[in-house]
Symmetry: C2
Subunit: 165 residues, 2 copies
């Protein structure tokens, strides 16, 4: 079932709703306590003179029901690329074309910024999302492992290698 | 066996050597024809007023034997992060501490820029690299799939959805 909604640039005033969507996704991804960021952080990081991300919201009857958030990356094979960090539609508003509209908008923006590739990550058990992305022409690969050093791993490493070259 | 080398910020003049290292890695990763970028591109993208990456080189007896290249990213859970796009040591200079020094330098730079996390991708069959990263405190995960739309997938999508909202 289709419904009326609008996709537009997010403003500072949307960051409260955007954080609610981020928390909803973290819960769905089984990491409800992983969100350490605040509304003030999102405002600082996204709306300064050197913003760290771009964000769009999907609005239905004055309610924020979805969002996309991404930023520039760089490929040493292809050149400038874009990363789609989050594409979120609130649970009761799914299957109405909102996710597709948010993805479509992000692809248009990325293309206008000269991105040679768009990349994002999907959980391996999220088969609905994987099918959706593949249907829209993306290639989902299990060839690469994502490697992360979190804050404590960084501090441990620095403590251990302090003073060394 | 240890050897003398220096890690320093890359300059425009290093981009020729950096591109050679990028091509050496692409060959190792079994994608020798994937590198579409030129020396001029690297200079434009890395040394403009709004650079798309930071790059460091490892130099031994005036020869560039390794490099790291990365850029800012953003986590909606943690805040500002850094991505390590490439960490390359030329084949005959491996196992001499150069990779460790390049990684260590990148971690220090990322920490000084306020990164809450450092992330990168590793090929699932590159067990030497995986062991090296895990030994240094990184977490290597097969939980996420990397999803990409390349240039032709982007153009196909836009052609199909031209004019639609």
């Amino acid at each position: 079932m289709k419904m009326n909604f609008e996709i537009r640039d997010a403003t500072k005033d949307d960051m409260n709703d955007v954080l609610s969507l981020i928390k909803e996704l973290a819960k769905f991804e089984k990491e409800p306590d992983a969100v350490e960021i605040s509304v003030e952080d999102l405002v600082d990081h996204g709306f300064s003179s050197d913003p760290l991300f771009i964000c769009h919201v999907a609005v239905h009857e004055n309610k924020t029901v979805g969002m996309s958030l991404g930023y520039k990356r760089y490929s040493t094979w292809k050149g400038p690329t874009m990363h789609l960090e989050d594409l979120i539609v609130s649970k009761k508003y799914r299957k109405k074309g909102i996710g597709k509209a948010l993805l479509s908008n992000f692809i248009k923006v990325a293309n206008s910024l000269g991105a040679k590739r768009i990349e994002w990550a999907v959980l391996n058990w999220n088969t609905d999302a994987i099918s959706f992305y593949e249907f829209n022409g993306a290639k989902v690969s299990n060839e690469w492992y994502i490697t992360q050093m979190n804050e404590s791993a960084i501090q441990n490493f620095l403590k251990k290698h302090n003073g060394s070259k």
